[in-house]
Amino acid sequence: MKDGTLVVAGMATLAAGTYAFRLSGQVLRARISFPPRAEKLLKAAAVVLLAALVATTALTEGHGFSGFARPAGVLVGGVLAWRKAPFLVVVIAAAATTAVLRLLGVH
């Protein structure tokens, strides 16, 4: 680690800024009364964010493709979840599929 002070400053910036993001959404929400339809939209917005997070963490690594093993595992988990398999089964199956594919040389 080169410059300790600068690294600490960076860490403090990241920590404080992240806390500010976490707080500001709630503060806004407490000050504004949303009609029911807007409430629904805000919840849908969170689902859209989470879906985008699933897609990017499953399919990409850095700015490129993550390889086939990981999205294949997530896909198996997704199909099981859609068919109402228990959460435990979904998550273990996703990890196991990815691990087995890698064991077989698929990356």
């Binding site: 959404g25 399919l59 997704g78």
Partner: protein, 282 residues
């Protein structure tokens, strides 16, 4: 805290425990990678407690280890974490003072702690519950679990170092997206939400090669416009009226103003209360 255990079904607690276990293992690799990149143990230890947002911490460590400026690395990490703002907007008053009590705005240390434990996992578990007491309980249980497991994993990983370097071999990297996906599937059974979610995912994927980390996911929010389209337009009734409820929706409304006229005349009940926000009307 004991009310968490009484409020949540055993199945939900078990799911939260499994999720926290996955977080622990990812934390192991985080600590190991940080130390292997030349950081002393206290860096991942402090980050994991104070930032408590995995993806941004990996990014910070990666950029600084590659010789980048730590402040620039922090800004990149903040871009990744900007999604916590819409999370806070989406949740009901979940960090309030009384976990099982009525919906009262929280104050003091509990609100401060509740804010800090907001993360993808605690938010998605909360959204998956049916009523406010369960939402609060799931949020706190998962949030506190992550608060223990993420730093715990990071410190242990930093101590045992390269022994846990390759979590890929166990498919652990597939666990995080699978956890989130499993929890949003019930929401996705609603056709409109599914459409918006798929569009958002596509936007994020297309943007990933070109934009810095974090931005593609935020850009996915544009897909929410798909859900706004069929709204009534109340322009004519509320021009020049600045109600504070409207502030948040102004840009969405502006966008809608440019939409084809056919979609705009769909609604518009003249007797509607003037204070009501157009986005909220159906």
């Amino acid at each position: 805290m004991s009310s968490i255990w009484r409020t949540l079904e055993r199945g939900v607690l078990r799911d939260i425990a499994l999720t926290c276990l996955a977080v622990f293992f990812i934390g192991l690799s985080y600590g190991a990678i940080a130390v292997a990149s030349g950081f002393p143990l206290w860096v991942p230890a402090a980050q994991s407690v104070l930032v408590l947002a995995g993806a941004s911490e990996f990014l910070f460590i990666g950029i600084v280890a590659a010789g980048g400026n730590p402040i620039a690395a922090a800004l990149a990490g903040l871009m990744v974490n900007a999604r916590h703002l819409p999370y806070g907007l989406a949740l009901p008053d979940i960090t309030g003072p009384d976990i099982t009590g009525p919906d009262v705005a929280g104050r003091g240390w509990r609100r401060m702690a509740g804010t800090h434990v907001m993360n993808d996992e605690s938010v998605v578990f909360a959204l998956a519950q049916d009523d406010l007491p369960r939402q609060r309980a799931a949020y706190w249980a998962c949030g506190l679990g992550v608060l223990i497991c993420w730093p715990g994993g990071a410190v242990l990983g930093a101590l045992i170092g390269s022994a846990v370097h390759d979590t890929g071999a166990f498919g652990l990297d597939a666990m995080f997206p699978a956890v989130i996906l499993a929890l949003i599937v019930p929401e996705l059974r609603d056709r409109m939400t599914l459409r918006a979610a798929l569009a958002g995912a596509a936007i994020a994927l297309v943007a990933t090669p070109f934009l810095p980390a974090g931005l593609p996911v935020l850009l996915a929010l544009a897909a929410v416009l798909l859900l706004v389209r069929d709204h009534r337009d109340h322009r004519d009734h509320r021009d020049h009226r600045d109600h504070r409820d409207h502030r948040d929706h102004r840009d969405r409304r502006d966008r809608r103003d440019r939409a084809p006229a056919a979609t705009l005349v769909a609604g518009g009940k003249p007797g509607e209360k003037p204070g009501e926000c157009p986005v909220g009307a159906r």
